[in-house]
Symmetry: C2
Subunit: 454 residues, 2 copies
C-alpha cells in the first residue's frame, strides 16, 4: 500500500504532476510484443507540428471544410430525439444492418459486388487492420508490404510481432516482379508469408496508383504463393478526375480482404470504417470485434447511415476532390518552383500525399528538427519502413493546409534543403549529385526566389 485516500479531492489541471519515473517499475512484466511498440516518428512530430506558426506538411488530417455542419447537426439531433434509446445503446458487433447495406452501395462504385453479411463495421479502418492482423499473424509470420507503406499498418504488424518485408514500387505502384521475387525468397527461406498488405490507389505515402494492368497479375502471384491480400483503400474515391479503379476485391473476392473507411470521404472523427471479407474470415472478425470493443459505436453508425441516405454524398465527395486537387496543384507548382536541383517527387492523381526524394547526402530524419526550427514539418521517409530505409525520402501532405500555406511551407522546406546541401558541399560531401527514388517522376532545374506569404 503506498497511499490510502478514500476522501481524495477531485484533481484539477492546476494540480502538479510528477513526471513518469525514468525506470518504469512494470517493465519486467510486459509481454514480448511490447518491445516493438515505440512512438512513431510522425506522432512525435504532431506536438511540435501543431504549433500555429509551423506549416505542417506532416499530418494526414482530411480537410472537412466542405461538410454540411448545419444539416449534420440537425440530423444527428433527430437521431437522438427519435431513436436515442437505440442509438445510445449497445448493438451488434457485426455492425448496423442498414449501414452494411449502404456500404455495399459505396463499394459498388469500385466494381465490388458484395453482400451486406460480409461487411463488418469497425472503429475506423485502423481497427480492421488491427483485427485482420490479429486473425492471421503469429509471431514471426511475414507480411509483405510496399516500401514505403502506411505507418499505422506497420504499427499493427509490429504489435503482433509479424515481420514486414518491403517490396519495391515504381511510378505504377507495386512491381509484380519484385513481389514474385520477394515471395520466392521467403519461401526458399522457409518463412511463412501470411499477407500482402497493399494500398493500390493514391498510395500513402508514395502518392502512386497501382496500374490496372498489374492488378490481375499481382492477385495471381498471391494465389500462387498462398498469400491473402489485404487491400486498404481509404482514398479510392478521391481520384482528382473522378476516376476510379477496379478494386482488387472485385477481381478476386475469395482471396482479398478489403478495408474501407468513411474517414476521408465523410468524417474521420466518427471512426467508422469497415472490412469486407470472405465468409469464414468475416465470422472470425465479428468475434474479434467482441473482444476488442464489444461493438462499434452505435450513434456513429446511425449518423453515417443517415448522411448516406439523405445527402447527395457523391457530390460532396466531388467537392472534397476539388479541394484536394487544388492543394495538390499548389504543392506541385511550389515543388517545381522552389525545391533545389536533384530533388524528385511523385505526381499523385488522387489522395493526400507527395513522396519526395532528396539528393544524396541529405538525411531527412536528421534534417527534421532543423525544418521545424524553420517552421515547416514533414514526415521523414524512415517512418514508413521497418528496415531503416527511407532516409532520403519524405512525405509531404497537401490535404489539410490552405494552398498559400502549402506554397509557403514548401518554400521554407526548400530553404532548409538548400542549407543542408550547402553544408554538405562545405564538408566535402557528395550532396546534390544523384537522382534516385521509388516512383520519382521528375526533377527540376533551379530554385526561384522566395516570395513572402501574407
Amino acid at each position: 500500500m503506498t497511499e490510502n485516500s478514500p476522501a481524495a479531492p477531485p484533481c484539477s489541471p492546476a494540480q502538479p504532476y510528477s513526471a513518469p519515473a525514468v525506470l518504469d517499475p512494470h517493465r519486467a512484466r510486459y509481454a514480448a510484443r511490447t518491445a516493438g511498440m515505440t512512438a512513431s516518428e510522425i506522432r512525435a512530430l504532431f506536438s511540435v507540428a501543431s504549433r500555429p506558426e509551423v506549416v505542417s506538411l506532416a499530418g494526414g488530417m482530411p480537410n472537412l471544410a466542405a461538410l454540411p455542419l448545419q444539416s449534420l447537426a440537425e440530423q444527428t439531433a433527430r437521431i437522438i430525439e427519435e431513436d436515442g434509446l437505440t442509438a445510445l445503446q449497445y448493438a451488434s458487433a457485426h455492425g448496423s444492418p442498414l449501414l452494411r447495406e449502404q456500404i455495399c452501395d459505396v463499394t459498388a462504385l469500385e466494381g465490388i459486388a458484395a453482400h451486406p453479411d460480409d461487411v463488418v463495421v469497425t472503429v475506423g479502418s485502423q481497427m480492421g487492420l488491427d483485427l485482420v492482423t490479429r486473425l492471421f499473424c503469429d509471431p514471426g509470420d511475414v507480411v509483405v508490404a510496399e516500401g514505403p507503406s502506411y505507418v499505422g499498418a506497420l504499427g499493427s504488424f509490429t504489435a503482433y510481432q509479424a515481420r514486414v518485408v518491403h517490396v519495391a514500387m515504381d511510378g505504377h505502384g507495386l512491381v509484380p516482379e519484385a513481389l514474385r521475387a520477394a515471395l520466392r525468397q521467403a519461401a526458399d527461406a522457409g518463412q511463412r508469408v501470411k499477407l500482402l498488405y497493399t494500398i493500390p490507389n493514391f498510395h500513402n505515402p508514395a502518392g502512386v496508383t497501382l496500374a490496372v494492368g498489374r492488378r490481375a497479375e499481382i492477385l495471381e502471384i498471391c494465389r500462387a504463393y498462398d498469400v491473402l491480400v489485404v487491400e486498404d483503400n481509404p482514398y479510392g474515391l478521391l481520384g482528382f478526375d473522378g476516376q476510379t479503379y477496379p478494386a482488387l476485391r472485385s477481381l478476386d473476392p475469395d482471396n482479398v480482404v478489403y478495408l474501407g473507411s468513411f474517414s476521408k470521404t465523410f468524417a474521420s472523427g466518427l471512426r467508422v470504417g469497415w472490412v469486407l471479407a470472405p465468409p469464414g474470415v468475416r465470422e472470425k472478425l465479428v468475434l474479434a470485434t467482441e473482444s476488442a470493443t464489444l461493438c462499434p459505436p452505435t450513434l456513429n453508425q446511425a449518423i453515417v447511415s443517415r448522411y448516406l441516405a439523405t445527402h447527395d454524398w457523391q457530390s460532396r465527395i466531388e467537392s472534397f476532390r476539388e479541394n484536394y486537387r487544388e492543394r495538390r496543384d499548389a504543392m506541385l507548382s511550389a515543388l517545381e518552383r522552389y525545391l533545389p536541383q536533384g530533388c524528385t517527387w511523385t505526381t499523385p492523381d488522387g489522395g493526400f500525399y507527395v513522396w519526395v526524394t532528396v539528393p544524396e547526402g541529405v538525411d531527412t530524419k536528421a534534417m527534421l528538427p532543423r525544418a521545424v526550427a524553420a517552421q515547416v514539418a514533414y514526415a521523414s521517409g524512415t517512418g514508413f519502413h521497418t528496415d531503416g530505409s527511407g532516409g532520403r525520402q519524405m512525405r509531404l501532405s497537401f490535404c489539410y493546409p490552405e494552398p498559400d500555406r502549402i506554397r509557403e511551407g514548401v518554400r521554407r522546406l526548400a530553404g532548409v534543403l538548400e542549407a543542408e546541401l550547402a553544408a554538405g558541399r562545405d564538408a566535402g560531401g557528395n550532396a546534390g549529385r544523384a537522382l534516385a527514388g521509388v516512383g520519382a517522376h521528375r526533377a527540376r532545374a533551379r530554385c526561384a526566389p522566395a516570395p513572402e506569404v501574407a
Copy 2:
C-alpha cells in the same frame, strides 16, 4: 480470379446469399490465437432472446429510459454546429484533455486521486481490457480471475492466449485465502501470473461485492506475488443505497490498473470508457490505442464531456439506481415466490445481476433451449468460466426488462426448473437435494402458484 465485375450492381437485402461454406478455405492460414475464438454462449443466445415473446434475463443492456434525450439532442447538435470541424476530426489517441479531467472528478467519488495525464480514453472499457491484456500477456501467461467472471474479459484473455485460473468467491467477494493459495500453486508450478482481474463492486455475474475489509489484504497478496491488479468497475456508482466503496486503485495506485466506463452511468452506445494506469503503463496504452483505432471517436468524447459539464449527472445516476433497485426487488421477490426448493441466489446491493445456483442434477446449459422454448432466456453459468464449471449456475439480469416482465420471466423459469427436476426424479436422479454454490445466501421453501402477466 473467380469473378470480374467492374459494373456490378449494388447489393440489396433481397439478394440471395449463399451461406458460408462448411469448410473455410482460409482455415490453414489463421494465427494460433484464433483457436480459442468461439461465439460466447451469451452471444449465441442474443438472437433467440431478442424475440419479443421471450423474456430475456440474459443480456446486460443498461436501461436508458432515464436519459434526457431532448437535451442530449440539442447539445449534440450544438457541438456539431459550433465545433464540428474539431468534433468530426481525428484527435489524440490519449483522449480529450477536458474529458480526462472530468473523468478524474468521476473517479474521485470512489476515493481515487488521479491526474488527467494518467487517464487514457478507450472505446468502451472492453477496449481497455483488450489493450491491457495485449500489453501484459504473452501466450501461456496466467490471469487470475474470479470464478465466475465477466465473459468479455475471458474472451480477451483467450484471444491473447493467456490461461485463466479461477479463484473462489463467497458472499463477500473474492476470498483472500483462495487467492493466496492459487498464486502459491502457480508459483510452485513455475507459471507466470501476470494479472489479477477483478470486479470488486456488484460483480458481473455473481452480484456480490468485495468486502472493504478484504481489499487491503488482496492488494498485499498481489504485491507479494508480483501480480498487477486490473480493477474493472463499471457498476461502482450503481449501489442501490447510493453507497460507494474505496476503489482498489485508491489503496495502491502504483499496482492497480483501473478500468472505468460511461456505459452504465450514461450511454453504452457511445462506447466511451477509460483506463487509469501508472505512468509507464499509460504511455504504452496510448501507443497500443494508435495501433488499435488511431484514436477514440472524437464526437463521442465531446458528447460525454458536454453532458458531464452541463447536466446534473449525479442526480441522473440516482434515477438509474432507483430504476435498477426496483427491478432487483422485483426479481428477488419473484425468485422467492416461484423458484423450486433447493435453488439459492445472491442478493446484490447494486449493479445488474443475480447469480442463481440450481439443485444438483439440473444442467443450466442443457436446460437453456427448453427455457427459450418456454419463452424465458438466461445466461448459463458455464459461459462465465474457462474451466467448464458453472453448470449448476445461471446469471439472471434484472437491468433491462420492466418489473412485470421480470416477474413473468422468473415464473416461466421456475416452471422449466420444476419440469427439469421432475424429469430427474422420474429418471431416478438425485435432483432437488443439494444446496450449493458460490455466494449463495438463501434458499426458499416452495413454489407458489403462477399468476398470468397482462
